[in-house]
Each structure stands twice: as structure tokens, then as C-alpha cells.
Symmetry: C2
Subunit: 453 residues, 2 copies
């Protein structure tokens, strides 16, 4: 039942498209899931994809558009008149997907599309959703849900539910509200099926309901759904009224995106790119941090320049520059990564930042002692310069201390000031550790040269 995209498949599809053979094309894609067709579009040029798209049934073609990557979808829709977007695409899809699609257009075009939506309830839902920050519960939720009044009994609820649920894709929970639409509880469909029909909803429902406010940030929504193993989560406004529900599939996307973002930050990539993006897009995403790192390199070179005198006297000093900068970078990345992951997963516990720094200091002492002892023994056996032998060990120890504390401290501070702590990874940390590392190392060499030389 599952489809695997192969080069052969794309080749025969392209052949059918080139021949304008509608039947052969449809035969190839008709049975595929919308997500698979969206994946196929990625491999085609825009005209080929459009040829396929016109062959799909209305509902399937909207589903495919929902599944497309943002950039592909934009290309797709930019030439389409507002009326067609409203009648053919927005019609029949869930309010959250509709808002996501409309949200990518200019304000003017949004207005145009909205006026063409016949279903006033749907249009109203979309307008409501467009007002929320896309990184909040309001931006994630859909307005479509099944709600029953706490004073109804099971029979009446089932009847009402049948009415409300007809147009919904997946219903797993029924939400229970009072006369003012205040959320009071939830009821799983399973319970609805199992209970005797005369029981009152108020007694049957689960009142310990976990909900979020429309303004809860999406990262927190993801953490809550993950922690409590939820499949759907009701969203309430500031006075407790039920306004929407978030389903787990949207949150899986949030989790993947967040994880991907942190990973890219650490790799020094400034935009969300994939290996299939073209050379220009990829260069633009990689260049900013490389330029920053290069200026960091220039700063390092100025630091080393100050020690040219010592270097010409003892050129072997240069030998350990890569080790010192490399170790500083590695240690700094380790420390910052642990803090950043802890912040992202909300797993830092209740330890105070001060206690964390103390603990990192201890770790740095242990790591620094072990590693500088190893290199001390190695250099005693192999090096002919006592000054370098001593300087390397002291510098390595100091650099490990500095890089550990700096790597712990910076993300904590950034987080305190509500800046994404993941900024403090990758090229930033390694560049700062490079500059401070060479300075510490060469300054110690110079000092020892002055004392012992």
C-alpha cells in the first residue's frame, strides 16, 4: 500500500506528461496518497506539476496543495486568480490548513480570496485564525471540532455529534462545554460507544482536561502533547471558552521543525534548506555564518600577530595552535548543546543557573585535568621544549575551563532575554573559543618565555 518514489517512476511519469497522455498520467498517480503526489511535485518542473494537478479531483488537489512545501505551493498559486483559490482550493479543507495557505499571500490578496469564499462560517473561522501568531496554539489549531453540552445525555450527544462530525476528517474526542461555551471536559469516542445511552454527559466526561490558551507558544504546546501523550488538545481563550483544537500531526511537524532548526543553527546554516535546494539558495544559507567565522579568523590572526616576536624565537609554539582552538571549540559546543537541548525539551529541572555553572565548572575541572595530564605526558616524552610542554598543558586546562563556562553561560543568558539560545552554538561558540584559545595559549607561552626562557 505504501509508495516508494523512484527514478524509474518519475521517468515514466515525465514521459506520459510530455506526450500529454492524460490517461497514462492518471493511471500512474490516481491511487496515490496526497502526500505522495506532493513529493512527486518536488521532482517535476512547475508546468509538469500543473499538468498533473488539473487532472486530480477537487478534493485530492486541495489535499495535495496542503501537503506541498511552502515554496513549491507559492509558485503554484501565484498565477492562480483569487476566485479560483477560494472556490477550488480553500473550499472543503480544514480551517487551519486554509489559514496557513491564505496567510502566505499579501494582505490585499488575502482580502480578495476571503470575499470569494461563499461559506461565511468558514471565512469567519479563517479570519479568526489569521489573527493569531503562527507560532502559537492559535496558529496551530483548527476551528473544526465536535462539542456537546454538559447537560445533554449520551443519546442526544450522539445525534448532535453525527451532525457535526459529518464534515470532519478525524474525530477522536468530543469536547464538553457549558451553556457559555466554557470548556468543561472531554469524552473519547470509545467511551461514547461503550456507555449506556441515558447517562448524563456531565457524569460521563473526563473533567481533568488538559488544555492550552490560544497564546501558548507552539514549542510549549508540543512539549505538553508529548509529555502527556495526547492525540488532540483543546484550545481555550482567556476566559476559558473553547475556541479550537490542535491535533498531534501538526505538533509532530512543530517538533521536527524545532529539532531541525536547532540542528541547522548548530551547523551554522541560517535558513531552512534541503540538499535538493539549488546552489544559490544553499549558498545564501551558508554564507552569513562563514563570513562571521572568517572575521573571527581575522581577529585570531591579529591576536597571533602580537606574538610574532615569540613565534620567531620559538616557532614550535605554532604546532599546538590547532589543538588548543579545536579543543576549545569541541568543549564549548558540548556544554552549549546540553543546555540548549535541555531548554528545548524543558528538561533542565529546577536546578538554578548558578548551580548549573558550578556543576559545569566541576566537569571542566575533571575533563581539563585528565586531558592536560595526557598531553603533558605525551609532550614530556616527545617534545624538546619544556616551555611548550608546560604551556600546552596549562593552556589546554584554561581553555577547557573557559569554553565550558562560556558555552553554559551564554545560552542561559540568551534564554533569559527571550532570544533563541540556539544562536549560541556552532560557528559563534567555536569562533569565540578560537580567539580566546590562541590568546590564552600564546600569552602563557610568552609568560613562560619571560620567566624560564
Amino acid at each position: 500500500m505504501r509508495f516508494e518514489l523512484t527514478k524509474e517512476f518519475i521517468d515514466s511519469l515525465c514521459e506520459a506528461i510530455e506526450l500529454k497522455d492524460e490517461k497514462a498520467t492518471l493511471d500512474l498517480i490516481e491511487k496515490l496518497h496526497a502526500a505522495d503526489i506532493a513529493e512527486i511535485y518536488d521532482e517535476l518542473d512547475i508546468d509538469e506539476a500543473k499538468f498533473i494537478h488539473l487532472l486530480l479531483e477537487d478534493e485530492k488537489s486541495s489535499d495535495v496543495l496542503v501537503e506541498l512545501e511552502d515554496d513549491v505551493r507559492e509558485k503554484f498559486l501565484q498565477s492562480m486568480p483569487s476566485m479560483e483559490i477560494a472556490k477550488k482550493i480553500i473550499y472543503g479543507i480544514d480551517s487551519d490548513d486554509a489559514a496557513d495557505i491564505i496567510g502566505t499571500f499579501s494582505d490585499e490578496k488575502q482580502q480578495e480570496i476571503l470575499t470569494h469564499i461563499d461559506d461565511i462560517v468558514q471565512a469567519g473561522d479563517i479570519v479568526d485564525l489569521l489573527n493569531y501568531d503562527e507560532d502559537s496554539a492559535g496558529g496551530l489549531m483548527a476551528k473544526e471540532l465536535v462539542a456537546v453540552n454538559e447537560n445533554w445525555n449520551i443519546t442526544k450527544s450522539l445525534r448532535e455529534m453525527r451532525k457535526q462530525a459529518e464534515e470532519l476528517d478525524d474525530v477522536f474526542f468530543v469536547y464538553v462545554t457549558d451553556d457559555d461555551n466554557i470548556l468543561k471536559g472531554t469524552l473519547s469516542l470509545k467511551k461514547l460507544l461503550l456507555l449506556s445511552e441515558s447517562i448524563n454527559i456531565k457524569t460521563a466526561c473526563n473533567k481533568e482536561v488538559i488544555s492550552v490558551n490560544v497564546e501558548t507558544p507552539s514549542e510549549e504546546v508540543a512539549n505538553i502533547m508529548d509529555k502527556y501523550d495526547l492525540v488532540a488538545l483543546p484550545v481555550i481563550d482567556s476566559i476559558g471558552r473553547l475556541v479550537g483544537r490542535i491535533t498531534i500531526d501538526d505538533v509532530v511537524d512543530v517538533i521536527r521543525e524545532e529539532a531541525g532548526k536547532d540542528y541547522q543553527m548548530m551547523s551554522g546554516i541560517s535558513e531552512d534548506i534541503e540538499s535538493t535546494d539549488n546552489v544559490l539558495v544553499q549558498t545564501r544559507a551558508r554564507m552569513p555564518w562563514l563570513i562571521i567565522a572568517m572575521f573571527g579568523g581575522i581577529l585570531s590572526s591579529r591576536v597571533i600577530y602580537q606574538f610574532t616576536g615569540e613565534l620567531s624565537f620559538l616557532p614550535q609554539m605554532a604546532m599546538f595552535i590547532p589543538m588548543i582552538t579545536g579543543m576549545g571549540g569541541n568543549v564549548g559546543i558540548q556544554s552549549s548543546a546540553i543546555i540548549i537541548q535541555g531548554l528545548a525539551n524543558n528538561s533542565l529541572g529546577i536546578e538554578s543557573p548558578f548551580k548549573k555553572l558550578i556543576k559545569e565548572f566541576l566537569i571542566a575541572l575533571v575533563n581539563g585535568s585528565i586531558l592536560s595530564t595526557i598531553i603533558l605526558v605525551f609532550n614530556l616524552l616527545t617534545s624538546d621544549s619544556y616551555i611548550i610542554t608546560i604551556a600546552v598543558s596549562i593552556a589546554l586546562f584554561s581553555v577547557i575551563l573557559f569554553a565550558t563556562l562560556f558555552g553554559t553561560f551564554v545560552p542561559l543568558i540568551l534564554d533569559r532575554f527571550k532570544i533563541d539560545p540556539a544562536l549560541a552554538t556552532g560557528p559563534f561558540i567555536t569562533t569565540v573559543d578560537d580567539i580566546s584559545g590562541v590568546f590564552i595559549y600564546l600569552a602563557i607561552c610568552k609568560l613562560l618565555l619571560g620567566v624560564l626562557g
Copy 2:
């Protein structure tokens, strides 16, 4: 309804525990979700946690154990007799959780616990699950599910369902099988509620069912559930018989773990640790890559040693060592990260590895040209050594080319040989790029000194 763990809460809880005040302790935790209580255990020492645990009802206490981190749970259970584990903990929890818990014990203890389980069906399910690789669909799935025969009608199915579903937590789908238990389709509970009661299941069910084999790797399971927005996924054996089902909450854990693992690999951390782990655990997780990186540093120092003659003649050569190694590391990490994320998300598309290398080569040409031109202009304006000015630009260009291709090539090769490509990130890439970077740079300096000097 949501609980936030604070230092004040832990303090008052610890006070109640110290006074052995059972009522005050229960008052504090009774209403909390099992996941919250599990989080609290993380902040307590083992005796405090045990005091709380004995106060919980049987079902709640099993739920808390399921939610605990593996290491905390192990501490908790190691002193408990097999009989108690079987009767108090395993009893009443889902087969997948039961198998996860039992799987952490020695074979001998597993046998002991299994013999104490009264419910022979549950014991059988657990034995079945223990046989699967924990990173496969078989290791993720639970045996508990609701299945109906394709030849039944809705009324009979509802009746059967009521019987089967009673002991299940969440039921969202009913699986449809034939007389040989071969999976034929699925039916959502919503559809069950909406359909007329006399309809035959065969006609009502969705036959385009997406399923996985017991041996499908968990990463692939996660990708499938994410791509098709599934809440539950049936698992079949090699001849198509329905053997279990995977729910989205378990897959969210897989996605988080995979993302966390890649992130930790990139940060050069060899075990799954958190900032709350103690100094010893953290040191053990950080030390391996640091030692490898240090030996990389020693290799770099040997490379530089070969150029001591040139360095004593022109000590300014040392100035740009950190820039060259730093840029090599950054470029290499960028390239490897894009490939590794593409492999993890299954988004590399159908481009062949060869085409990817060609594209990366183009990106490297563009990046290398831009950056080496910038540094050329800068050095022309500020440096007094033409040799260094030219050498830095040529070396930077070459290092960017090398690091880009190496960072792309290695994860692709590792993946081809079924080794986790994420190994090719972090300290490994930066260390290799450091060594090759200093060699390229100093060799070019030496060459130019020979020609121009």
C-alpha cells in the same frame, strides 16, 4: 489543570516526606498526572520517591513507572521482588510498556517475572514483543487492539468492539481482518458512529490501509506516520496477518530521540545525557570525542612540525592557522549536516549521490571564490607579506573545496554501508578538516616561499 514543577513545590513535598506525613504528601501529588509525578521523582532521592510511590493507587503507580526515565526506573525496580513486579506493575499496563519494562532486566529475572504473570494472554503478548528488535515496528507496537471480521455488520462489530475495547485506553481505529486474521482495512470510530447499523464492514471500511511490517525500522515508521499524518498504524507479519498497532505518542518519542541523538552526535557527546545528570555521567559522555579530538590535535602538531623551518623564517604564517582550520570545520559541518538531515527525514529526493557531489562542488566553488576574494582584498590592504596574502587565499579556497566534498561524501558512504551517517559530524569532521587544513595551508606557503621567497 496543568502542573508546573517549582522549587517551592519540591521543598514542601520534601518537608512532608521527611515528617512521614502521608496525608500531606498525598494531598500534594494525588491529583497530578502520572507524567508529572514521574518528573517529580527526578528531583527526589530514591527513598523519598519510594515513600511517595507506596502511597499511590496501583494503577497510578504503574503509570508513573511507565513514564519514568529508564535509569530512574531501573534504580526503582532493582530491589523489588519479581512477584511484586509481575502482580503490581505489569498487571494492567499495555503490552508494549510491559515489554519495555521487562526488557531492561536480565534474562533470568525476565523469566522469573513472566512466570508470576497470571494472565496467560498478557504473558504471551509480552514474550512475543520481547523477541522483536526494540528499534523496529515490532518493538514499538502494542498487541492490544480492536479487530472486527470483514463479514460482520456494524451492529455485530459494535457489540464485539464493546467487549474488546473495555480494557484499552485509547481506541481511535478498528482494524478489519478476514477469517485468517489477514489485515483488510480500517474503520474509524467516527465512521462506526455515523454509519447505518446493517451495513457490512467489508463495504464500509477503508481498504487503502497503510501498514508496516514488524521488521520495519522505527525511523521509517516515524517517517511514514509523519508523512501520512497518522495517529495509529497497524503492524503486519510477513504473510500479512495483523499482529499489533503503533500509536503516535510512541512515535513522537522516536522522533525526539532521533533528533536528540543526531544533535548529540554533532556536539560530540557519546551518550544520551541531560544537564541534570551528575558530573561523572557527564564526563563519561564527553570524554571519548575529546580524546579523539586531542589526538587529532597531536597529528596537526606533527604536520606543523614539518614546517618549522618555514615558520622560523616567516613566523607570520602562524597568524592564519586558526582561520584556515576554523573555516574548514565550519564548511565541513554545514555540508555534512545537510546530508545527514536529508537522510534522517528521507528528503534527499531521487538525485543520485554523484549529482549531489557535483552540486556541492559548485556550492564550494561559489563560497570559496567569494570568501577567498574577501580575505585577499583584506590582506592586500593590511599584510606586509605577499606570500602569506596569496597563500591564505589559495589555501582557504582549497580547504573549502576539500571540506565541502569530504563533508558530503563521508555521510553518504557511511549510510551506504548501513552505519549511522551522523557519526560523520562534529568532532570527527572538524578534526579531519583541521589536519588537512593546516597541511594544505603550510604546504602552499612552503611552495610559494620556494618560488617567490
